[in-house]
Symmetry: C2
Subunit: 230 residues, 2 copies
């Protein structure tokens, strides 16, 4: 079982498998499914994505039961990237929560964060609409609000004044968003994408920008229309 | 200041204004903006929607400051309906939380709930994509997770075994989702729309269906593809 993306290249598991093992029939399973809850047999809904719809349906049949509901999908890069890019937004949401900026601000970060994830996703060959589904906003919501979220936890600690070095030293499990942020900032530059939330998280994590200033910077951007993003 | 929809007809405020006062230049402002937090000057992002883009920009300029970020939009029915339909999903999310089904299940309810809101929205003249924005999923997230949410509160109490009659007797402020659910069930029948979450909330509120059975029914529906909804 594998998830996430390669640190420097942002290569997805399915890409790496195809590179190392040659072309394979691949199906990826992702969505809001914190292991701690799935293991306790609590209900969850996920997507099974494959270029081969028959394979996606096969995986759907195998995994679906009264505790796990599986939807088929065909956007493999979109579904894989959703589960990796959400971690950046979860750090931002953790910072927002830690600074006690409220539920309105955090929901706005998630809503706008999903748009930002989609923007990079499209540049990497995914479909925008995938990020509006379970593997995008669905997974993002769980990661941002759940007490099991390690990336949210990084944001909470940053807001409390801890440095990234201190946080990483004390964490037992990896908060992969820390590395994904760095890789995505480089990709955003290469593709000339506007990714303001990721940029601010990067400045806080790696450039010592005070978290409150980062949140304020997001509020003070030029006025725009939401239509261009939906 | 007005929000929501008329109980029996689901008419939107802008429709009622146009009916009673004749055609007017109307702009609606909506999004994740619980009053309790806005009043404390905490940051929030909303959309200003009008058929007249110049008017939307005017409203954007008037309201925008370092605590309130306003995005323009042109889908008036979509933005109005987002703020009303989310309340049904918030009741469902409250039930899910009250039954301790976990963050995965609640995120799935929100994700699939947004799809359901969009389905009815399209039948009523809105655009599907509007529900993927601040006035849709953004507002829905706040309403589902915030301790200020009255509709979430209804769901929590239902899960604890209280009846709707008892809950309404003791509530000081209106939980409009209780009435919206009833109106939407009728509309879903008229337009022959598949709205499983709304249907289950309706059965729990008005037909005495045990909340856990309602949640289980949602998990046991026939397998499907997510592609048809995005």
């Amino acid at each position: 079982v594998a998830k996430g993306v390669e640190q420097k290249t942002l290569k997805r598991p399915s890409e790496i498998i195809n590179e190392l093992l040659g072309a394979r029939r691949i199906c990826v399973l992702s969505g809001p499914s914190h292991a701690e809850e799935v293991a306790r047999r609590l209900p969850a809904c996920v997507v099974a994505a494959s270029h081969n719809q028959r394979l996606a349906q096969e995986v759907q049949q195998v995994f679906m039961n009264d505790r796990l509901r599986v939807y088929t999908h065909n956007d493999v890069p979109g579904v894989e990237l959703g589960g990796a890019l959400k971690n950046i937004i979860a750090i931002a949401a953790g910072i927002c929560e830690g600074l006690k900026l409220g539920d309105n601000a955090r929901a706005a970060l998630m809503s706008r964060g999903m748009i930002e994830m989609g923007r990079l996703g499209v540049a990497l060959g995914a479909r925008k609409s995938t990020f509006f589904g379970l593997a995008g906003i669905g997974d993002l919501i769980t990661t941002c609000v759940s007490r099991y979220g390690r990336n949210r936890e990084v944001g909470l600690r940053i807001a409390r004044g801890e440095t990234l070095t201190e946080i990483l030293k004390r964490m037992e499990q990896v908060a992969e968003g820390v590395w994904t942020t760095r890789a995505v900032v480089q990709l955003a530059r290469r593709y000339q994408l506007d990714m303001p939330i990721t940029q601010e998280v990067y400045k806080v994590l790696y450039k010592g920008k005070p978290p409150l200033e980062a949140m304020q910077a997001l509020m003070q951007r030029a006025p725009k229309s939401e239509l261009v993003d939906l």
